[in-house]
């Protein structure tokens, strides 16, 4: 590994630690407080643990699951110290995340066995789709790939301009048909343009939409189909962007977007805030979709590949 690479990886870890700082302190401090002065796992400890998990947006069902598993591992009313307990709880959560059998990315990467590789980005309003696309384009451009962004959000005011500015910042290519164009047509033509121009990676932005609006979900299916029509098998990935501050509604978002577009990966944004990001655990528990990226800020570099172990370590260490 080159010096530069090493340096970069180090920097990445610091970023993640920094971003998860608030999450970390919140979770761990609370846990320490709960455990302090206690040396058995009793009812009141479990109640407190339940509170911590729920306040991290882990959700009721998954919280109960975690507690049940912890109980199964720790003999009730037996003496236990905080380090042991931390380890056990950490393992319970990592195991839970591991159960959905998704493999963590090691670095920003995509399948290069076909060309172009097409990613469709979807999600409810304001979660960070466009920003995440900018950040992804930056990572892949930096790695020497020829990247093209397609502006299929033709609805929200200045959405096309926003994506265009990101492409300029990154220095990658950009395709649009302006505002109010048919998004399926934009997607189709973007892929066509990318094929003609020899792009390695195409990322298509779509308008934010609430999963309850059937006509908009149908529109999304249509966008997806039109991409497939231009390039059979594409989009190769459908990335659902979730906001870490979202509560239990994120579960329904994951369900409905998957129904409409067969989501293949998740990005969890705004983890630099005080939201605990516990939805990640709740969603991993209920879906088989891997979390691939986490957003830790508003600028180009503030995107990381998701790593289960690091994520949970970040919560506890």
């Amino acid at each position: 590994m080159s010096f530069f690479n090493k340096f970069f990886n180090k920097k990445k870890e610091e970023d993640l630690q920094e971003g998860l700082q608030k999450t970390k302190t919140g979770f761990f401090n609370k846990l320490s407080k709960v455990v302090a002065g206690k040396n058995t796992v009793d009812e009141s400890f479990l109640d407190d643990l339940e509170q911590i998990l729920i306040q991290s947006d882990v959700g009721l069902d998954t919280t109960i699951k975690i507690i049940d598993r912890l109980e199964a591992k720790v003999a009730k009313d037996k003496y236990i110290n905080i380090d042991e307990l931390n380890d056990i709880l950490k393992n319970v959560i990592v195991d839970l995340l591991d159960e959905n059998k998704t493999v963590d990315l090691q670095d920003f990467e995509f399948d290069t066995s076909h060309k172009p590789h097409v990613i469709l980005v979807v999600g409810v309003n304001g979660t960070g789709k466009t920003t995440t696309i900018g950040k992804l384009a930056y990572q892949f451009t930096k790695r020497g790939h020829k990247v093209l962004l397609g502006a299929a959000d033709t609805f929200r005011a200045a959405a096309v301009d926003q994506l265009k500015i990101w492409s300029e910042r990154v220095g990658c290519d950009f395709y649009s048909k302006g505002m109010n164009a048919d998004p399926a047509a934009v997607a189709y033509e973007t892929v066509q343009y990318g094929i003609n121009e020899g792009h390695d990676l195409i990322i298509i932005d779509t308008a934010g939409r609430l999963h309850t609006k059937l006509h908009l979900m149908k529109e999304l299916t249509k966008i997806k189909n039109s991409i497939d029509k231009k390039m059979p098998g594409a989009p190769h990935e459908v990335l659902l962007v979730l906001d870490a501050t979202t509560g239990q509604n994120a579960i329904e978002q994951a369900r409905q977007f998957t129904a409409a577009t067969e989501v293949t990966a998740l990005a969890l944004t705004k983890l630099d805030g005080s939201a605990q990001g516990g939805v990640a655990i709740g969603i991993s528990d209920q879906f088989k979709i891997p979390i691939k990226f986490i957003g830790l800020g508003e600028s180009l570099e503030h995107l990381q590949v998701f790593n289960k172990k690091a994520f949970v370590e970040g919560l506890f260490n």
Partner: protein, 451 residues
């Protein structure tokens, strides 16, 4: 998805009925159910606990609950009333005493600030007949100024912007000066999204507030927010002491517990709700509806609204005529299916009708229920769709082949269709559809959900 809370509570009380007396334990069980409902709706855990403890005391104090035939219902009523009172209080409008009145908008990233700025500008211009200026103080997000420019054009108000100035405090102050010169009534200041944990940005918003001394500071919060709503609201309130809350994205299916959390934490009134991306999708806050929504209870009002939203008067008249003449055909049927579909997810629609939650709980209503019917109709020729009487055996056979269902299913469907047609024809002589819609309207609906 969520069976009505009162059913669960009835369940909690049922055990004891046989035993004669309702006890503290039963109340405790039902309190636990209520707490779960609240937490499931994203009400902050601590608040849910405090809130239900209070309810418990009330329930124990009221002999009525223990004597009541339906203690569960009574408990729900106590919860509803308490929650409504908590979230409601005196409805306070905007303080418009400034010359000009200055309104500052703040909140997390992507919560809907810029969209709301456009909406409130439109509202003040059209409904309150004010001269309005919107101000673009988000100097960070790509195309933030363009976004507000487009919205200001859409709603027809003036915009103040300084694309080359990176100092939002200055921009805001300059806007107010400009407004005074131009005799503008209201200045609305849109700001960048910021995290409560971002010291630099929180200092900035405090400085903007100090620099323009607004009459109204509004905190915009996404109704889908989870447990963190409490922290964020608290920090923003500590730093900028906002006057009111705007709850956005209520057009989705979030239960919206953040509304209770925020109100409970900072005690500031929820002044507006935002229910869509379009500029007229702005509304005042109804605490009772919100309480129902958080508790996952049937929300007949929303149901009616969604129905109305899809209701097209002209189409309905045409349809009525056709039914009266007994000319209802497969094309009309397809249109009806499409309308129901556009109202939203079938199961959640059913859940909105009080009492239906129970009925549909174990039923697997899937949104594809109509697919089969649609496939059958789509396999008909246009002529057949318009003239159902054409369908003879050979035509039915061809349709069966076309849609991949067997002939029995085709026959069954056509039989059901005929029955339905007959029934509608009969009904059309007595009542009429428009009356039906009018009745629904009287129940409290209001148009305007959409996109």
């Amino acid at each position: 998805m969520f069976d009505s809370l009162s059913e669960k509570l009835e369940g909690a009380f049922k055990n004891l009925k046989g035993h004669g007396k309702l006890t503290e334990i039963n109340i405790a069980t039902s309190i636990k159910e209520i707490r779960r409902a609240l937490v499931g709706a994203d009400v902050n855990y601590k608040i849910a606990k405090e809130f239900t403890d209070k309810i418990k005391d009330q329930a124990l104090g009221s002999a009525n609950v223990l004597k009541s035939v339906k203690p569960g219902e009574l408990m729900v009523k106590i919860v509803m009333d308490e929650m409504t009172a908590l979230m409601g209080g005196d409805a306070i409008g905007l303080n418009m005493t400034g010359k000009p009145t200055v309104i500052l908008i703040a909140g997390l990233q992507g919560s809907g600030k810029t969209t709301f700025t456009g909406k409130i500008a439109k509202f003040l211009k059209n409904k309150k007949k004010k001269r309005v200026l919107v101000t673009a103080c988000d100097v960070y997000r790509p195309a933030a100024i363009d976004q507000l420019t487009v919205l200001s054009e859409q709603v027809g108000v003036e915009i103040y912007k300084e694309p080359d100035n990176k100092n939002p405090v200055e921009i805001a102050q300059n806007a107010v000066v400009y407004a005074i010169e131009q005799k503008i009534d209201v200045v609305i200041v849109d700001t960048a999204g910021r995290l409560a944990v971002d010291e630099v940005m929180m200092n900035e918003i405090a400085a903007i507030k100090k620099g323009i001394d607004p009459q109204e500071v509004l905190f915009v919060v996404d109704a889908m927010t989870g447990q963190d709503a409490v922290n964020t609201a608290k920090v923003f309130n500590d730093r900028i002491d906002f006057d009111g809350v705007v709850l956005t994205k209520l057009d989705g299916d979030t239960r919206g517990g953040a509304a209770l959390s925020v109100k409970y934490t900072v005690g500031k009134p929820i002044k507006f709700i935002s229910t869509g991306e379009k500029m007229d999708q702005l509304d005042v806050f109804y605490p009772e509806r919100m309480a129902q929504r958080i508790l996952g209870m049937g929300d007949i009002v929303s149901f009616v609204e969604r129905a109305q939203d899809q209701f097209d008067e002209v189409e309905a008249k045409k349809l009525e005529k056709k039914i009266k003449k007994n000319k209802f055909d497969f094309n009309d049927f397809l249109k009806q299916i499409d309308q129901i579909r556009r109202m939203g997810d079938l199961k959640s629609l059913m859940g909105m009708i009080p009492g239906m939650g129970k009925l549909t709980k174990n039923l697997d209503i899937d949104n594809n229920a109509f697919n089969k019917v649609e496939a059958i109709i789509q396999s008909m020729t246009p002529e057949e769709r318009g003239r159902p009487e054409l369908l003879n055996m050979s035509r039915k056979k061809r349709i069966a082949r076309g849609c991949g269902h067997d002939i029995h299913q085709i026959n069954m469907f056509i039989k059901q269709f005929d029955q339905m047609k007959k029934m509608m024809h009969m009904m059309s002589k007595g009542n009429n559809m428009q009356n039906m819609m009018r009745n629904l309207e009287r129940m409290g609906g209001r148009p305007g959900m959409g996109r």
